[in-house]
């Protein structure tokens, strides 16, 4: 059934179709409609879940972790300050190897108070063991939430599905909402099949004091699971395509084959960049685009395969790692390190705190990079008004 819905409601439908069993969430702009619609689903019986109306995001994540440890399929959604408040427990979810799914609406961190989009909230949580997916459209948001459960439950890691504040969260687009029966064919029915769970018939202690003799290997295995997740995410996306007719890949190259310059984007800037690629092609410039959908684990192999086709790579970061540069740019440089042929990498920062990113901005970025042999600094700031 096609319906015109916001990105936030796309998240709610995804969590409902995935048959979430325990939901614990706390309201924050611009995430609120996600939990409101899920509350309605629970109240009307459209979703058979326990919804714990917690008193904070820290508790939301703690409740999901504890419920997941019993084998229940768990879901939460948050944004910005809420995600930051969860931080301690985000570590716990990954360390405990529990496939909690979280939708984060990318919103800038205070102060000053901002409700508008940038990626600093989710990128501040990139090193914890969570998988991260950045979405371009409302359809992709819904589909990724459903996929996230399957991927997370296979590799036993939590998954964060990320959408831009307002540009997706509050913008309506046509979304194909699949029949429950199709989703059930794709995603096994809960409870989740965990190797160990909280069970009085098979009692264990979870998360006890762990000496250096054991802790190191537990972390080693998280990284192994992250490595494995690259292939799992591809396979799950394929299965999804076979059953539901849509797939996204972990990255999406667009007109990259003969490109001399490749733009690298994530989130909704991708949609704008796609238009610019087409218009640049009309002008005769060989520009391509690489959309990064899965950022943790980093699709290193794909980056190394695709990006060196061009002489120039232009990374667009709607975030800043203070004291260094844009996070995507850093990671792409690191992924390409050691290749015999190195493209020149331009790292642009743009759109922080939800400042609009227009097609004209991206055209000017492409124009600058095309005409400039080498960037004169590690960060190329776009549109700073001083």
């Amino acid at each position: 059934m096609k319906k015109v819905i916001t990105g936030n409601h796309a998240v709610s439908y995804g969590a409902q179709l995935a048959r979430s069993q325990v939901i614990a969430a706390y309201p924050i702009t611009p995430q609120t409609q996600i939990v409101e619609l899920l509350s309605e689903f629970c109240a009307s019986g459209k979703l058979n879940a326990k919804f714990i109306k917690v008193e904070s995001e820290h508790s939301a994540m703690s409740a999901c972790i504890a419920a997941a440890a019993t084998g229940a399929r768990t879901f939460t959604a948050t944004s910005s300050q809420g995600l930051a408040l969860m931080h301690e427990m985000l570590h716990w979810a990954a360390g405990a190897r529990l496939p909690v799914v979280l939708a984060n609406v990318n919103r800038a961190m205070g102060p000053g108070w901002s409700v508008w989009t940038d990626q600093n909230d989710s990128l501040s949580q990139r090193d914890l063991g969570w998988l991260q997916f950045y979405c371009e459209s409302n359809q992709e948001v819904m589909d990724t939430v459903i996929q996230a459960f399957k991927i997370g439950e296979k590799v036993l890691l939590p998954v964060m599905v990320i959408l831009d504040a307002f540009v997706l969260s509050h913008t309506s687009e046509p979304v194909d909402i699949p029949d429950q029966e199709l989703v059930d064919r794709f995603l096994p029915l809960p409870p989740v099949n965990l190797p160990y769970k909280l069970d009085v018939e098979d009692p264990h202690a979870f998360g006890a004091l762990t000496s250096p003799d054991h802790y190191y290997e537990i972390r080693f295995k998280i990284q192994k699971a992250q490595d494995e997740a690259v292939q799992v995410a591809k396979e799950v996306d394929e299965e999804f395509k076979n059953i539901l007719g849509r797939g996204y890949g972990i990255v999406e190259p667009y007109r990259c084959d003969d490109a001399k310059l490749i733009l690298v984007t994530s989130g909704t800037i991708t949609g704008t960049a796609r238009i610019v690629v087409d218009s640049e092609r009309v002008k005769g410039r060989k520009v391509g685009l690489l959309k990064i959908r899965m950022f943790r684990p980093t699709p290193i192999k794909e980056l190394r395969e695709i990006l060196p086709r061009a002489q120039k790579v232009v990374v667009i970061d709607r975030n800043i790692s203070f004291g260094h540069s844009g996070v995507f740019c850093q990671e792409i440089k690191s992924a390409l390190y050691g290749l015999p042929v190195q493209p020149t990498i331009f790292g642009f920062i743009i759109g922080i705190g939800g400042r609009d990113v227009t097609a004209q901005d991206i055209e000017e970025i492409v124009d600058y990079a095309s005409k400039t042999e080498k960037p004169d600094s590690i960060i190329l700031w776009r549109g700073v008004r001083l």
Binding site: A24, H58, S62, A63, A66, A67, A205
Partner: protein
């Protein structure tokens, strides 16, 4: 009246508590009352160590270790996860220290109590942060020495009354208990198990290490605390119906309770008098609430 403590053990030797740990013995009693269809939640506290380091585990029921401030919400999450899977006969018990309850965990505890989530929350109160080396908590009594309230400037604030805070949430059951009265303790745990909703049990749990006293005095100190009215045994249903479970015929002076504990050794006569007065005052308040004259 004869009372028998159930023989069956659900906590085994090999735990790593200090000698005379009130928190360890209290768990042993609690589990005797609750049985093995129980899941235990333990936030950061001495009990994160006592149950044993990985892969050891001293309690028979499953133990879920969780972050310091999450004892209550983890229980809510476990209960929800079990309920949605149809496993409705399992008792979930949070077992947290005074720091995890009165300080860092009070927000999540208040949230769970307001929702009346179905679990037993136990605060084993040793009146300081013992795991990290005897720092003051808001449960540390007035006048006590801790490593952050040195004897020159001992704790200058009275103990926070957590049981009354929980009672104010109008939860179905809140009670105080201690090991010197094992019949009282076992009865209260059984009662808590039989009630749906949030149950709060406040255990007075001496820490001989942190209180600078002989480990073999542990049970005696519990008895002195009750018999001096420092820690009255009472329970309250639905935030309204109070029962005082033990009314000392002639309360002993608080000095007898304070004397064996090194953490009070710096107290002057005037300070002891001050403590006596506030104990008397609190006792009268409690009697009023319970309608006892």
């Amino acid at each position: 009246m004869k009372f028998e403590i159930p023989q069956k053990e659900y906590m085994y030797p090999g735990h790593v508590a200090c000698p005379g740990c009130g928190g360890a013995y209290s768990m042993r009693m609690a589990l005797k009352a609750l049985g093995e269809r129980t899941i235990i939640v333990i936030p950061a506290c001495c009990w994160s160590i006592i149950d044993g380091p990985f892969p050891l585990h001293a309690c028979k029921p499953p133990v879920f270790h969780t972050a310091f401030e999450t004892a209550a919400i983890a229980a809510s999450g476990i209960k929800a996860g079990l309920d949605i899977q149809g496993k409705t006969d399992i008792t979930v018990m949070s077992w947290a220290g005074d720091g995890g309850t009165l300080d860092i965990g009070i927000q999540a505890l208040s949230g769970a109590a307001e929702r009346n989530d179905d679990f037993i929350y136990v605060c084993y109160d040793n009146e300081a942060y013992m795991n990290t080396g005897i720092q003051r908590s808001s449960a540390t009594p007035w006048g006590a020495w801790t490593t952050t309230t040195p004897a020159e400037t001992p704790k200058s604030e009275p103990k926070k009354n957590i049981t009354e805070i929980m009672i104010a949430h109008r939860i179905p059951y809140a009670a105080t208990t201690t090991l010197a009265y094992p019949d009282d303790m076992i009865r209260k745990f059984k009662k808590a198990k039989s009630i749906k909703g949030t149950k709060f049990i406040h255990i007075f749990a001496p820490c001989p290490t942190g209180w600078k006293m002989a480990p073999d005095l542990m049970v005696k100190i519990c008895r002195l605390a009750v018999d001096s009215n420092v820690f009255p045994l009472y329970e309250c249903e639905y935030g309204i119906h109070y029962t005082i479970n033990h009314i000392p015929k002639k309360p002993i002076p608080v000095e007898e309770y304070l004397k064996p504990q090194g953490r009070f050794s710096h107290l002057t006569k005037a300070m002891i008098e001050h403590i006596q007065k506030s104990v008397n005052f609190e006792w009268e308040l409690l009697k009023q609430r319970a309608g006892v004259s």
